[in-house]
């Protein structure tokens, strides 16, 4: 087992990893930018190193600074968290070359799944259903038009190197395709430094359903059920839950088996998530995230498995601790992302937290790095806290969510708390009638 883990991240996920390490008796190193000097992860870690200025490129994305920090503090493993360098195959490689352990999948698996077009091909070969679309990246407007006519409009253009909604464009007919194609290419080039885009059929009312997978170094691969993350705006998740209200035991096994086949096809190790779109009883592979997810607590609450500790154990070469045989999801868990954003316009709202009260009591978990007088920096993403509630069934969890959100007080910055309260009182949400388009029509 490792003696000291460096966490190459910030915010709530850095604290989450520190918590797992503390409980396992492993020492921790926090790295931070100048803007995060007063952060809790810096305070709670055994060691801390300032690795650069506020701008991520020179701090949390600086591979040499992070490796140097590991060297001067004597860390023997690096946990990348999510975002930043977590899905950077080059970083994972360098960590290995420096005789450190990367707590995550092998670089080859990250690289393969990180290229969305190649990921699709790999999924198809592994017998995982995919959405009809282009074979790999599309180079010209003519080619795009050809493929689009073949599969029928509407279609969506996506950045091959993408994620997080950037470089995505929906086209409803052949007329608007040329312009959208150019925009998608430009966005992809700007956001990822790679202008390759591909095209696929656009589903009008799909649900976002993802399968949590876990593989150890001894060849065992398991799935830990699904999370439904249909409540999104601008392709950013807002609410996640498990189980999904529409997934039957039979469908869960089919999706889980497909996910496991894909993992085996890429020799996957450690935690991963395979995202599917689901519509009318059919599921289609979307992409694989080769890291721990923001919404991993939802799975932890219904399976009783600590995914971060499992990541550390698996990286150290231990076998998966998940029991053999069929498992059952127990109860229902929902996560609400509390962001420093205007709940109506979603404009980011950095600033100082003047007053804070976190909800508690039965079935309530809050993963957060904020405290009273904490200044939310403008340099990073707007996630302030994750509220996770657990109930015996979905309605029970919703009632608990309402109660917890009422008790959740954040003053000084605008947050998405009022939006979550409104969603929990929405008839359609309560019925479980969800789709990724839910927020398009939702008004507070």
């Amino acid at each position: 087992m490792f003696s000291k883990i460096l966490i190459a991240n910030r915010g709530e996920i850095a604290l989450r990893v520190i918590a797992a390490c503390k409980e396992m008796g492993i020492k921790t190193v926090a790295v931070h930018s100048e803007a995060d000097r007063d952060s809790l992860h810096v305070r709670y870690a055994d060691d801390d190193v300032c690795i650069g200025p506020a701008v991520s490129k020179q701090s949390y994305l600086s591979i040499s600074s992070i490796i140097a920090a590991a060297e001067i503090t004597g860390a023997d493993a690096i946990h990348p968290g999510y975002g930043f360098l977590s899905e950077n195959a080059h970083f994972a490689e360098i960590v290995g070359e420096c005789q450190l352990t990367f707590i995550g999948p092998p670089p080859e698996a990250i690289r393969l799944m990180g290229d969305k077009a190649r990921a699709r091909e790999t999924a198809q070969k592994a017998g995982v259903p995919i959405i009809p679309g282009s074979e790999g990246a599309i180079r010209t407007v003519e080619e795009a038009l050809d493929v689009a006519r073949g599969i029928g409009f509407p279609v969506i253009l996506k950045a091959a190197a993408g994620g997080g909604g950037r470089g995505m464009r929906i086209c409803w007919d052949a007329e608007e395709l040329p312009n959208q194609f150019d925009t998608a290419r430009n966005e992809a080039e700007r956001a990822f430094g790679d202008g390759s885009v591909y095209l696929e059929k656009y589903l009008e009312r799909p649900r976002h359903i993802e399968i949590q997978v876990f593989a150890d170094q001894h060849g065992r691969v398991v799935h830990l059920g699904e999370r439904e993350c249909s409540i999104q705006r601008r392709h950013q998740k807002l609410i996640e839950e498990s189980p999904s209200p529409v997934i039957t035991e039979e469908l869960r096994q089919r999706m889980g088996d497909a996910a496991i086949r894909l993992c085996k096809a890429v020799n996957y190790v450690n935690a991963g998530t395979i995202e599917f779109l689901y519509q009318d009883g059919e599921f289609y592979f979307m992409e694989m995230n080769t890291r721990i997810q923001v919404e991993h607590p939802v799975t932890e609450e219904v399976t009783g498995i600590d995914l971060v500790k499992e990541q550390i154990r698996v990286a150290a070469g231990e076998k998966l601790s998940v029991p053999e045989g069929p498992f059952k999801l127990r109860g229902h868990a929902i996560e609400f992302r509390v962001n420093a954003e205007d709940p109506v316009t979603f404009a980011p709202n950095p600033g100082k937290i003047r007053e804070l009260h976190l909800p508690g009591g039965p079935g309530v978990r809050v993963d957060t790095h904020i405290y009273r007088d904490y200044v939310v920096p403008a340099h990073y993403d707007s996630l302030l806290a994750k509220l996770i509630v657990r109930g015996k069934d979905r309605l029970d969890a919703i009632a608990r969510g309402r109660r917890a959100l009422e008790q959740f007080v954040v003053e000084g910055v605008k947050t998405t708390i009022p939006l979550h309260r409104a969603i929990l009182n929405n008839e359609q949400f309560i019925k479980g009638d969800l789709s990724t388009r839910f927020m398009d029509k939702f008004t507070m």
Partner: protein, 160 residues
């Protein structure tokens, strides 16, 4: 509390001639006992936390120590007025010479010109040469040879 701050505290304790001082900060406890003899002891420092936002809390410290420490800090800051401080552009290990056999690049009191190599910071087995940013006289070298430095940590003071 970083190593440098601990060293400063030791200096203070020996100068003031008081018996002992104990400082606790963010889980780090440092107890320094002064002796009339030249040497001091540092005890019970479980984890050296480099750099912290909060000023150290001094418990049971005789009044003169605190004021003297404050005075030293004030004097330090005042003595830096008009000086050009060169800070570390990267995280790594600070070396004063190009290799263990040769002498240091610079000494305090040396005349330096813009572009002169002052030290090396090793990060990921790469030796990064840090150059003088202005012409002037090198009045202070902050880290010890072989000491880890963070981004933004003070390396040199140059008087133009």
């Amino acid at each position: 509390m970083n190593f440098k701050e601990i060293l400063e505290l030791i200096d203070k304790v020996s100068e003031s001639g008081i018996g002992a001082v104990e400082v606790e900060q963010a889980g780090t406890k440092v107890r320094i006992e002064g002796k009339p003899a030249p040497q001091q002891q540092v005890m019970a420092a479980p984890q050296q936390q480099q750099d912290s936002a909060q000023p150290p809390m001094i418990y049971a410290a005789p009044q003169p120590v605190e004021t003297k420490a404050e005075e030293k800090k004030r004097l330090d800051e005042e003595s830096e007025v008009g000086l050009h401080i060169i800070t570390s552009p990267i995280v790594g290990t600070f070396y004063r010479s190009p290799n263990p056999e040769s002498g240091p690049f610079v000494q305090e009191g040396d005349r330096v010109t813009k572009g002169k190599v002052l030290c090396i910071i090793e990060a990921m087995k790469l030796m990064n040469e840090i150059e003088a940013e202005i012409d002037g006289t090198l009045v202070k070298i902050y880290p010890q040879n072989g000491q880890p430095v963070e981004y933004g940590e003070k390396l040199f003071a140059v008087k133009a």
